[in-house]
């Protein structure tokens, strides 16, 4: 079994679910860089799903893994069908096959029933009080990473300098114990190379002072990256000072390092169509099921500061969330990659 060696510092991500528009630019940015080879077609290290929903892999929230009272709990290995996707189409046949309207574009490979974003924009509730929001997910680079501990080959480790959970793929024998142990189900299997793979925290970029692709490319300006102990950085302020950014499913006990600002969503409507400004469109209990008890305080803080700003008073929290200068999102990782000249 692998051992977890604590890192000196910890990089963390914050996603603002009020700014995330579910555009998948982060998912695509990641895929373009890291999962283009044979064996990685179905892999999406970064995913964005509509909540409530089954997400990726389908039903991941109930697949187990992680810890209970400090002890590892058994987890299920998601099946390829639960990840879904991996599509190919009969382009040749339709566009160049000479068969005219007898054929049309259809999937010739991959899952017919699921994919990375299959339940997009579905959500729950009843119109007009339906509710949903977007949840971008990547490996949480946990402080107590179940995957590291579960690996029989000592392939996984926490980078001592920045806390990223990384894998020595040359040690990985494809046992997939990590994928069972990870309660977030963020580990994929590469059938061509017979290794497990997951988000690498864009370490080649980070080494060069460039922010991870999922953060740097986010058009919603919904993502921040930074060291948790950099008290002046937005990440630490949002997580530690304002306590509005919370880990997902803290009850999994892996101490994740991706934090979320909970969604507010519009006020619900009364039966006669009038506004119920004090009601919750997204049931508070649902938010609690994702982010735990502290979510109520976070929502209250957000609402209070928003109201302050609306009444013309200053609010440091609102200024942070506005992000006047985009570079604030990048923490210390502000270098423009195009400046790099590889020798």
């Amino acid at each position: 079994m692998g051992t977890i060696t604590a890192s000196k510092r910890q990089l963390a991500w914050v996603f603002d679910l009020n700014k995330c528009i579910g555009c998948q630019t982060c998912s695509v940015a990641c895929k373009m860089l890291w999962t283009q080879d044979e064996g990685t077609e179905h892999q999406w290290w970064m995913t964005v799903n509509t909540q409530p929903g089954q997400g990726t892999p389908k039903g991941w929230e109930t697949m187990g893994g992680g810890y209970k009272d400090g002890k590892q709990t058994p987890g299920k290995l998601p099946t390829p069908e639960e990840f879904g996707g991996g599509w190919d189409y009969n382009y040749q046949e339709v566009l160049r096959g000479g068969k005219g309207r007898d054929v049309h574009l259809e999937k010739t490979a991959g899952s017919k029933t699921w994919g990375m974003n299959w339940d997009e924009d579905e959500g729950a509730g009843e119109f007009p009080n339906s509710y949903y929001f977007y949840l971008p997910r990547l490996c949480n680079h946990c402080t107590q990473p179940g995957c590291v501990e579960a690996c029989p080959n000592d392939a996984l480790y926490k980078d001592p300098e920045n806390g990223l959970v990384l894998r020595n793929e040359d040690l990985c024998k494809g046992a997939q114990m990590c994928a069972r142990a990870c309660p977030y189900k963020k580990i994929y299997f590469n059938p061509a190379r017979k290794v497990s793979q997951q988000c690498i925290g864009c370490f080649p970029r980070i080494e060069q002072g460039v922010a991870p692709a999922c953060v740097r490319q986010c058009p919603g300006r919904a993502a921040w990256i930074g060291f948790l102990d950099d008290a002046h950085g937005p990440v630490a302020k949002l997580v530690n000072q304002w306590k509005v950014a919370l880990p997902l499913h803290p009850e999994f006990e892996t101490k994740p390092n991706v934090y979320y600002i909970p969604p507010l969503s519009p006020a619900p409507l009364n039966a006669d169509g009038s506004w119920n400004e004090n009601g919750d469109r997204i049931p508070a209990s649902y938010l609690e099921s994702l982010f735990g008890q502290p979510v109520h305080g976070a929502v209250d803080t957000l609402k209070t500061e928003m109201a302050k700003r609306r009444s013309g008073q200053p609010s440091e929290l609102m200024d942070l969330l506005v992000m006047y200068k985009w570079e604030e999102a990048l923490g210390h990782l502000r270098r423009d990659p195009a400046e790099i000249v590889w020798s």
């Binding site: 603002d16 599509w87 566009l95 980078d159 020595n168 740097r216 490319q217 300006r221 985009w326």
Partner: protein
């Protein structure tokens, strides 16, 4: 930072390295044109990433970085996607059979040239028809426009094809360019997301909505479904689809009734104070009052002096006059009779009584108190409507737009930061406008041409000293229209493509029409309203259809078979130039492969969203044998000249009976070799734009290669740019219509004011002289479900439909999204194959069930190609593509054709259907 160096990590490090980083963008018709960095090595693009090169413009307003979206970030995948075209192809089997042979460029161009020369000889040059496009950037568009102009062919107006024309804005303002720069939204106190879905369609700058909200503004989303953009809002208004006019008018009613209207704004900016003869509902004109009086001099009632007075035409500033906004007065006409006259405001007040919140609520389903609250709030706050291009696709979209404009008028909400309508406005890239006028390359020639234009502007200005520069600019454009190639496509569709019967179907049309659609067309044509613009004329059979970077077979309202069965048989040759095998390419005779962005240089058309020039560099050479459009049309010019000489067709008469020659076509195309390459062309556009003051000194090609983009420095001398009517300052967001509101510059309308009364007899007959609500006609038949549509998140039109990376971000196949209730009552489960049908047609599609959808509504986002459906029957099968007859009106003040402007356009949203499990 160090990370342990193992071989495993090194593989990832190696993957993230490159030889070259160039600037690129995608020149898509998504309007954003985000600057990207394109990383390449060994002549291959590896990946791209937003360049994020924007500095902060205005203090206290967030910058525009990074500007990106998933389509842009996966663009490079499309260079080698399976639908990419790499070689010239000739059809082997039947049209549409998908059986091809690869041929040489020489052969392909020769065949195209033969067809063109024969068409010119046989039916005249207007039998060669191009579909205009807005895709692909200016260097995709300029070559075919130049070629068409030289041979005297017809180009079908792009806006009549794609229908991004908000007719109601044009009716009100004489233009539709009311879009500020996107960062202006941060100044808004009340953001209304209305008839749009920015979280799908404005991904790169949707952040200004969420950031304005954190900054203290309130965000309200008004939509039939609880749309993905509702998530950004504080409140959601569930409106019944296509009842927006009733909702807007009701808010106007509340504002006027409660005395909340911005009267100063209405007095100066609108036709509210202009007098109307009560019995005829026609404006009181000087020609009514004095003999020999002008047709376009209007009056108001000077309250202090208690007299009739001429409303000034040269300024909106009422100065010391307080024109009456209510009451009834009398005026003596030229024949000595007296008539009662009332200000337009009186008529509007009366009209609005039909839209009290309680009455409007019965139409639009919105709670009356919500209407009142929102109306009051808008009257207090800087309010902006984020509108997009959905309304133009509704049959009565013009009525919705006019009502929304009225709502902004009564609340005084345009022309100031944070107000107005976010749609589309063009910025000035004057070098592009000057290009076709130049006889030589170089700045000396530019100055000569500019002096000529200025002279023409001055001469026109002298004819009407009270006209604004913008109006004179339109006049100038107007004079060029008839000698140009552009034609509003509605007439082409009516005479040549079999739409007559569809458009004549009374049960799919507005019930207030007194005559058949055909009667109105004949009437409009007989009156000469569209003189010189109906091209090719009814008796000229189209011979060659040339389609560059656009996709009518997917887009065509009325179903692709409408074109395939009615137009295609007449055509000797269908030639498609594209980067990918589109639905239209599949139906072509000759397919020519075009270079994609990243494989060529390009400039995007200039708009105000980022207010920056969009530049794309060549990172790698084109795949396969693909060529740029400039290369293609340059070579085609040579070929046509050669074949024309062989066939002895060197001279002919064009549609205006003017002589044309083909024996100098090649040198005319390149201006005697000055424009051999597109670099020379781009260089010329940029340098001339700097000369004309629309780009700063760092707008050169060299500088764009280094910096990626630069911000426009002025609006230039041409009407499209001037129509923005905004000051351009380096450190301020751009606010459309500022000149009208701050400087009292008149609007380019009949009355020189934002005009809510259209006293044209057809509008009167339709009872649409004032804004009102009308129910959507039963387009498609009497069925229980209303099919709305809109653009998807996943592709810009069909351009990214074949991108395998993007397919993985959705279900990867066409979807119809149903409400939970409608699915349940029809026994339809998520994933079932269903039939969507009405009296126009039917198609099969998979169902997706989502509780966010309003019962009674079905959503099918567009972009799917017909060949993604069985029998190639896609969503346009059920869209009749009805055209509103009132838009055939012309020669009434500002209601007259200008390219990309006023013209009849087809509706496709809000058709009635039923769905059933297959």
């Amino acid at each position: 930072m160090t990370t342990t160096g193992t071989a495993s990590l090194d593989r990832y490090r190696k993957r993230w390295s490159w030889e070259k980083a160039t600037f690129g963008t995608h020149c898509l018709n998504c309007l954003a044109t985000c600057p990207y960095r394109v990383f390449s090595a060994d002549g291959k693009v590896l990946f791209e990433e937003p360049a994020a090169v924007f500095g902060q413009v205005e203090d206290g307003v967030p910058d525009m970085n990074p500007m990106s979206c998933q389509k842009g970030s996966a663009w490079s995948v499309q260079l080698t996607a399976p639908d990419r075209l790499l070689h010239p192809l000739r059809r082997v089997g039947e049209r549409g059979s998908g059986e091809w042979e690869e041929i040489s460029w020489d052969e392909a161009l020769g065949e195209a040239a033969d067809a063109i020369v024969e068409a010119i000889d046989f039916e005249g040059p207007e039998s060669v028809v191009f579909e205009e496009t807005v895709e692909g950037g200016l260097l995709t568009q300029a070559p075919y426009l130049r070629f068409a102009g030289l041979i005297g062919a017809v180009t079908l107006d792009a806006n009549g094809l794609i229908n991004d024309f908000p007719a109601g804005h044009h009716i009100t303002f004489g233009k539709f360019s009311c879009a500020s720069s996107v960062d202006d939204t941060f100044h808004t106190e009340l953001v209304l997301i209305w008839h749009s879905n920015p979280s799908y369609t404005s991904i790169p700058y949707a952040h200004y909505i969420t950031e304005a909200r954190y900054h203290g503004s309130r965000v309200v989303c008004i939509a039939p479904d609880y749309s993905p953009s509702s998530l950004m809002a504080d409140t959601y208004v569930p409106i019944k689809a296509s009842t927006d006019a009733a909702f807007a008018l009701s808010m106007c009613q509340v504002i006027l009734d409660e005395g909340l209207a911005n009267t100063d704004f209405l007095r100066s900016q609108t036709d509210f104070p202009l007098l109307v003869i009560e019995s005829t509902r026609r404006f009181l004109r000087a020609s009514d009052v004095v003999s020999g009086g002008k047709e376009d001099q209007f009056y108001w009632w000077d309250e202090a002096a208690s007299t009739l007075a001429e409303a000034p035409r040269g300024t909106l500033d009422p100065e010391d006059v307080r024109p009456a906004m209510s009451g009834k007065f009398s005026a003596t006409l030229v024949d000595g009779t007296t008539v009662d006259v009332v200000p337009v405001a009186e008529l509007l007040r009366e009209r609005l009584q039909e839209y009290t919140p309680e009455r409007a609520s019965e139409i639009c389903g919105v709670n009356p108190e919500v209407i009142r609250e929102l109306a009051r709030e808008a009257s207090r706050k800087r309010t902006k409507i984020l509108e997009g291009f959905n309304t133009p696709k509704y049959y009565h979209g013009d009525l919705m737009e006019r009502a929304m404009c009225l709502f902004l008028a009564v609340t005084g909400n345009w022309g100031r930061p944070g107000t107005g309508i976010q749609g589309l406005a063009l910025a000035g890239l004057d070098g592009y406008m000057l290009f076709g006028m130049k006889q030589k390359r170089g700045v000396a020639e530019t100055i000569r041409v500019m002096e000529g234009v200025e002279g023409a502007i001055a001469a026109l200005g002298n004819q009407d000293p009270e006209a604004s520069d913008e109006m004179v600019g339109y006049e100038l454009l107007q004079r060029g229209v008839v000698s140009g190639t552009a034609s509003p496509p509605a007439f082409f569709h009516f005479y040549h493509c079999g739409y007559k019967d569809t458009w004549n179907r009374a049960e799919w049309s507005d019930p207030t029409m007194k005559r058949s659609f055909e009667d109105y067309v004949n009437d409009a044509v007989r009156r000469g309203w569209w003189g010189g613009l109906v091209k090719p004329g009814p008796s000229t059979d189209p011979q060659v259809l040339f389609i560059v970077a656009t996709n009518p077979i997917r887009r065509q309202r009325g179903g692709s078979d409408t074109l395939l069965q009615n137009l295609w048989p007449k055509l000797e040759k269908v030639i498609v130039v594209d980067t990918r095998m589109s639905a239209t390419a599949l139906q072509a005779d000759i397919v020519l492969p075009a270079a994609m962005q990243y494989e060529r240089i390009n400039l995007q058309y200039a708009i105000t969203h980022s207010f920056r020039v969009g530049f794309s560099d060549e990172a790698v050479k084109p795949q396969g044998e693909a060529r740029t459009e400039w290369q293609i049309f340059r070579a085609l010019s040579e070929k046509v000249q050669e074949r024309a000489a062989e066939q002895g067709v060197n001279e002919y008469l064009d549609g205006r009976r003017q002589p044309r020659r083909l024996d100098n076509l090649a040198s005319a195309f390149t201006l005697n070799g000055a424009y051999e390459s597109e670099e020379a062309v781009v260089d010329e556009w940029l340098r001339d734009s700097i000369e004309a003051g629309t780009l700063p000194e760092d707008g050169t090609l060299q500088s764009l290669r280094e910096k990626g983009t630069t911000r426009f420095s002025g609006l230039g001398m041409f009407a499209p740019g001037l129509s923005l009517a905004a000051n351009v300052e380096p450190n301020k967001t751009v606010t459309a219509f500022q000149w009208h509101v701050e400087d009292f510059v008149p609007y380019p309308t009949l009355t020189h004011r934002a005009q809510f009364l259209i006293d044209h007899p057809w509008f009167q007959e339709a009872d649409e002289d004032l804004p009102r609500h009308k129910d959507t006609p039963k387009m498609g038949g009497d069925y229980p479900l209303l099919l709305t549509s809109g653009h998807s998140r996943w592709t810009v039109h069909a351009v990214s439909m074949g991108n395998p990376t993007l397919s993985g971000t959705h279900r990867g196949e066409p979807l119809a999204i149903l409400s939970a209730e409608d699915a349940r009552s029809r026994g339809i489960a998520d994933g079932d194959l269903i039939e969507v049908r009405n009296d126009r047609g039917s198609y099969a599609i998979r169902a997706k069930v989502a509780p966010r959808v309003r019962p009674g509504q079905v959503i099918v986002y567009n972009g799917w190609e017909p060949h993604m459906f069985s029998e190639w029957k896609g969503p346009n099968e059920v869209e009749p593509g009805m055209v509103k007859w009132l838009h055939l009106v012309s020669r009434y003040g500002h209601l007259r054709y200008l390219p990309f402007g006023w013209q009849p356009v087809p509706a496709d949203r809000a058709v009635f259907v039923e769905v059933a499990k297959l």
